[in-house]
Amino acid sequence: MDAESQKRFREFVEGRSAALLRTAVLLTGGDRHAAEDLLQNALVKAAGRWSRIEDPEAYVRQVLYRQQIGRWRLKWPRREVAVAEPPERPGADTAGGADLRMVMRAALARLTPRQRTVLVLRYFEDLPEADVAGILGCTVGTVRSTTHRSLARLRALAPELADLGPAAAEAAPSRDIPPVEVRP
């Protein structure tokens, strides 16, 4: 990488790394160290192809998502993130939004990386299903089924969420679900 490319790379990292790290933390279920690893690996890859990348942010994000799913593939037997303590169950009179979000956060940390990645893309990045499918290299049907199963898994992990209304993705599961691609 020549001096000018290095300068542009540094500017990109300085400007965008905070946002990229936020996404990485969500992908890793709140594990900050793992998120820093994930982001650094993605940036190293980007640095290696810097002169050929047209949209660095899109490239790094794609690497982040796909790396995360790659980890899931490699670590299938230990796909659930261990949590030190079970999520606290809010009492009936304290079940406000903040408590529910804490419950949800703990439940998200216990999803598989792939399930979490799909939810981050759909609900944090606000991407349509077709875009998520393109990023992850799978079909729209797989995105739909994974979303559906991920939300169902969240409910199973946190009974406190039972009173919540169904999401659109839950209400209308796709018929073109492939045979169990993501096991809960």
Binding site: H33, V44, L151, A168
Partner: protein, 407 residues
């Protein structure tokens, strides 16, 4: 509320709580990339931006003197391996070289926004032959050939004085105070002198600069070096050597440390440089008077590996990858053999190297982040594991780095 809305709000809240990225992330990334290309030992974690001194010192042997060829005392095992230990507990050695200790580091975020890389050391207790955590006072430790004495720097670097620590008693037997503070010391191959690289600020501190980016920045404060005579404590003349513009470009591992190292024969000093004009690692050489000079014969083709020239001067360990590493003819730079390891640390004898290698099994490119200490033999595919795949000591960010020296 719908479950998808709660997911959305939870993710947004969690994202908003995150503090900024670690300091000089771009520098760390560029450094990690250089290491991947050259050593193929990745710094996948930000943590593995290890810059711990592998105090490798291999005394030059006179191969014409048959009495000095076999450096193994009778009764001493040639290889002492603990392939079950991911964090070493018991002494590890092969041939003439032993692991005098190891180091690991932490990134300490300061209240003012600075970040300081702090090392901890574990040193061999000569009585028990086990590694024990060294005093936290020591910010830098370099064990001398023979493994009886270590040079230590205390407190936050750069340190005003250099201590000579007796490893058996744990006592500092002498303090030496150069005129300029030092942030690194390295023993000469014969164990008689020390080169101290001097800095005006801590090169391992990333500094928050008001009015600039939120991440703390590296800074460049090397002032030069001095050579110290260990027996007398005499400090030689100060040689000024601030960092060059080229050295400031990136800065290895995201911090601004660029120390002086000894040549194979102890007659010159060098600063390791990365990715020169042809994309190769190279060394800038200096005479003991501080003048730029050519590489010594035999080290012209030296790259990253600290093992460098073999004790008999006939082989040179060169930059490798996870696929293996070339062994060069030091006179021509031509490859004459390959060894199945990724980073060569020290010559156990004229034909065997202590190195880092992934495995067990062939390196696949996926596990290059995890390596173990091995013994490899030039001309053989056989790898003898000396430790298990390295893991980080509890509470530390990176895996341990071996400190090797002659035993």
């Amino acid at each position: 509320m719908n479950v998808d809305r709660l997911v959305r709000e939870t993710l947004q809240e969690q994202a908003a709580e995150q503090p900024g990225p670690p300091g000089d992330l771009a520098g760390r990334v560029l450094a990690a990339r250089r290491r991947r290309r050259t050593r193929a030992v990745t710094g996948a974690a930000l943590a593995t931006a290890a810059l711990v001194a592998a105090a490798v010192a291999v005394p030059a042997l006179d191969s014409s003197d048959p009495g000095r060829r076999d450096v193994r005392p009778a009764g001493r095992p040639d290889v002492v391996a603990h392939p079950d230990q991911a964090v070493p507990r018991d002494f590890v050695a092969a041939g003439r070289v032993g692991m005098a200790g190891y180091a690991a580091f932490r990134d300490m975020r300061q209240r003012n926004g600075d970040e300081v890389l702090v090392r901890s050391y574990w040193l061999l207790n000569p009585r028990t032959q086990k590694y024990e955590k060294a005093d936290d006072r020591w910010a830098w430790v370099a064990v001398a050939p023979g493994m009886r004495t270590a040079a230590v720097l205390e407190g936050e670097l750069p340190a005003r004085r250099i201590g000579l620590l007796d490893l058996a008693s744990g006592e500092v037997t002498r303090w030496i105070t150069p005129a300029h503070p030092a942030a690194a010391v390295e023993w000469s191959p014969d164990g008689k002198r020390l080169v101290a690289t001097t800095y005006s600020k801590n090169p391992d501190r990333l500094v928050k600069v008001p009015g600039t980016s939120p991440a703390p920045q590296q800074h460049f404060s090397r002032t030069g070096w001095v050579v110290v005579d260990a027996a007398s404590g005499d400090v030689g003349p100060f040689r000024e050597l601030p960092q060059t513009p080229g050295e400031k470009d990136g800065g290895y591992a995201g911090v601004a440390r660029q120390d002086l190292h000894w040549s194979h024969d102890g007659s010159r000093l060098y600063v390791q440089q990365y990715e020169g004009p042809r994309g190769r690692n190279y060394r800038d050489w200096y005479t003991m008077a501080g003048d730029r000079t050519a590489a010594p014969e035999g080290e012209r083709h030296a790259g990253w590996p600290r093992a460098g020239l073999s004790p008999d001067g006939k082989l040179l360990a060169a930059d490798g990858t996870t696929e293996g590493s070339p062994i060069l003819d030091p006179r021509t730079g031509k490859q004459i053999a390959r060894v199945p390891s990724s980073e060569q640390l020290a010559w156990a004898d004229s034909n065997r190297l202590i190195a880092l290698s992934c495995g067990p099994g062939p390196c696949t490119g996926k596990n290059e982040q995890r390596t173990r200490l091995v013994l490899v033999t030039v001309g053989s595919d056989r790898t003898v594991p000396l430790t298990a795949l390295r893991e980080r000591p509890k509470g530390y960010k990176g895996v341990w780095s071996p400190m090797l020296t002659t035993r």
